[in-house]
């Protein structure tokens, strides 16, 4: 018999241990390469500060627009964090090594993305707190609904980033798609200019962008409008589930291997 070794850690506890082991390593990897992460926090902070006078003079809710708009835009940029983290597994050929382990694809994906999820939640939280302290964003009356919105948006972004990573062929391709996509989708969603000021065609097309739903959700959450928050939250959750399922399926099959890409 070859397989007579003791096999502890099966079941839920084993699953938790494996996810924790993966998350621990991925957190280490993330902390050892923090440049991108820092820039996606620092850049919107500077831009918020510079653009604030313009927005406050031009719009009634100028501080809310500039704070939430740039927060959404730069959180979309963070898609590339998720994409690069997953794509690197293919570059380093480590994904196949993990697939040979006892951890099923879902555990691998959760363990891989959990640290990124924490990073994304932290990025958005820092930007919102900064918005309140330095930009004049009104303090949200219901922090719980704001936190829920941040969590849902981070989940959707991660899932989209993971799905994207399983489609592209290189880091360069991912960079182009995520940068151009982030600017296009967040602008179209009203992150730079309020929808009401945008051309009619853009207003019609806006709901096709996840950025539109994210901005609607964030602005409703900041205003304490629970009912206005739930609908976009549901849309983003659905987008996240679909993208996540797509990514998980591709990753489970060893995406990019012969005959599978």
């Amino acid at each position: 018999m070859l397989l007579d070794a003791p096999r502890p850690g099966l079941g839920v506890l084993g699953s938790v241990h494996r996810i924790a082991a993966l998350a621990r390593l991925n957190l280490l990897l993330r902390l050892r390469d923090p440049g991108q992460m820092i820039s996606y926090v620092a850049m919107p902070m500077v831009l918020m500060l510079v653009l604030r006078p313009l927005y406050v003079r031009a719009l009634d809710a100028g501080a809310t627009q500039v704070a939430t708009g740039l927060m959404v835009m730069f959180s979309v940029f963070a898609i590339s964090l998720a994409g690069n983290a997953i794509l690197s597994e293919r570059t380093w050929r480590t994904w196949d090594r993990l697939r040979v382990s006892r951890a099923p694809a879902a555990e691998l994906l959760i363990g891989k993305t959990l640290p990124l999820f924490v990073v994304m939640v932290a990025q958005q939280s820092i930007l919102l707190v900064y918005g309140c302290l330095a930009i004049g964003l009104p303090v949200p009356p219901n922090p719980a609904i704001v936190l829920m919105s941040i969590v849902i948006w981070a989940f959707a972004l991660l899932a989209i980033g993971a799905a994207l990573a399983t489609i592209v062929r290189s880091h360069g391709e991912l960079s182009v798609i995520s940068d151009v996509g982030a600017l296009t989708l967040s602008s179209l969603g009203g992150a730079l200019v309020p929808l009401s000021l945008m051309p009619e065609w853009a207003q019609v097309a806006a709901p096709a962008s996840p950025g539109y739903w994210a901005l609607t959700m964030m602005q409703s959450a900041v205003a304490g409008d629970v009912a206005g928050t739930l609908r976009p939250a549901a849309v983003l959750l659905a987008i996240g589930v679909m993208a996540g399922a797509f990514a998980a399926r591709r990753l489970a099959r060893g995406w990019g291997r012969g005959g599978l890409m």
């Binding site: 018999m1 070859l2 397989l3 007579d4 070794a5 096999r7 502890p8 850690g9 099966l10 084993g14 241990h17 494996r18 924790a20 082991a21 993966l22 621990r24 390593l25 280490l28 990897l29 050892r32 390469d33 380093w92 050929r93 480590t94 196949d96 090594r97 993990l98 697939r99 040979v100 382990s101 006892r102 951890a103 099923p104 060893g254 291997r257 012969g258 005959g259």
Partner: protein, 278 residues
């Protein structure tokens, strides 16, 4: 026991496996030889459950590969390490994924580090290691959970002497403890040192399997005799010792030197895998 029967795998126009059949018993080391494209890596990937065969069957102790995930140790042909993680962090990851905890994990890591001569390198990032050191670190990730089946795909490719010896030592040790080992390589002397059963793959199937003695028994060796006056005779023979004795008895001129060469593993490899290759 690993049993693969009539495996078939096709990538588009390329027939990677075409009736590949091989079995490996507990404690046995099978050295899988073959040219690039002979099907060795595809076989390893199917047994690892990384890809599915188009036909045929694989069982490990009677179970399909999917049912024994994590109980097989795999060291792939290419280096697959996180460049910014240390050797210790790699071993902790793969050990934990296999269910090892605390003291058992620490002990497994320290033991393996000693055998693979990694102790001094444990806290260095793998991206900063030499090629040979990376090879040893990679092998360690495959061995840390003491798998009953080891699949080592060219584990010494491009490795230095220290790495090669460390690898051979650990493979012999694990086989001695009862693990079944599939060891693909182009370095034929390694298989002699491992006393491995030899399987030769060509065009997606195993064309010969057995011990070196079994496979080489019909191969000719060579007797070289230098006669006085620098004249050299080369005689190809299936029984070099008998031929030499016969020559010594019947030589009419004094002999200044003799050289007897039994068939080598290279001869065997060439005769099976190269000579008839398309």
């Amino acid at each position: 026991m690993l049993v693969a029967t009539d495996l078939v795998k096709r990538y588009g126009e390329i027939q990677a496996l075409d009736g590949f059949t091989l079995s490996v018993a507990a404690g046995e080391i099978v050295g899988l030889l073959g040219h690039n494209g002979a099907g060795k890596t595809t076989f390893v990937e199917i047994v690892s459950h990384l890809i599915r065969p188009d036909g045929g069957r694989v069982t490990i102790d009677g179970k399909p590969p999917a049912a024994v995930r994590g109980q097989v140790g795999v060291a792939p042909q290419h280096i697959a390490l996180y460049p910014s993680a240390t050797v210790r962090e790699h071993l902790e990851l793969y050990g934990r994924l296999s269910g090892l905890r605390r003291a058992a994990l620490r002990s497994a890591i320290e033991d393996l580090a000693a055998v693979l001569r990694l102790t001094e390198l444990m806290d260095r990032r793998t991206g900063k290691l030499s090629g040979g050191q990376q090879r040893r670190a990679q092998a360690a990730t495959a061995l840390v959970h003491r798998p009953g089946l080891l699949l080592l795909d060219e584990p010494t490719a491009g490795a230095d002497l220290e790495t090669r010896q460390a690898m051979l030592d650990v493979v012999k040790q694990r086989a001695g403890e009862g693990a079944a080992v599939v060891y693909t390589t182009h370095y034929l002397p390694e298989l002699t040192e491992l006393q491995a059963t030899i399987a030769v793959a060509r065009d997606g199937r195993v064309i010969a399997r057995g011990s070196y003695e079994e496979l080489a028994k019909d191969l000719p060796g060579e007797v070289r005799v230098t006669l006085e006056g620098e004249e050299e005779l080369r005689i190809s023979t299936s029984d070099p010792a008998a031929t030499l004795i016969d020559l010594l008895h019947h030589a009419k001129r004094p002999i200044s030197s003799v050289d007897v060469r039994n068939p080598s593993l290279d001869d065997l490899y060439r005769s099976l895998a190269v000579h008839d290759a398309p």
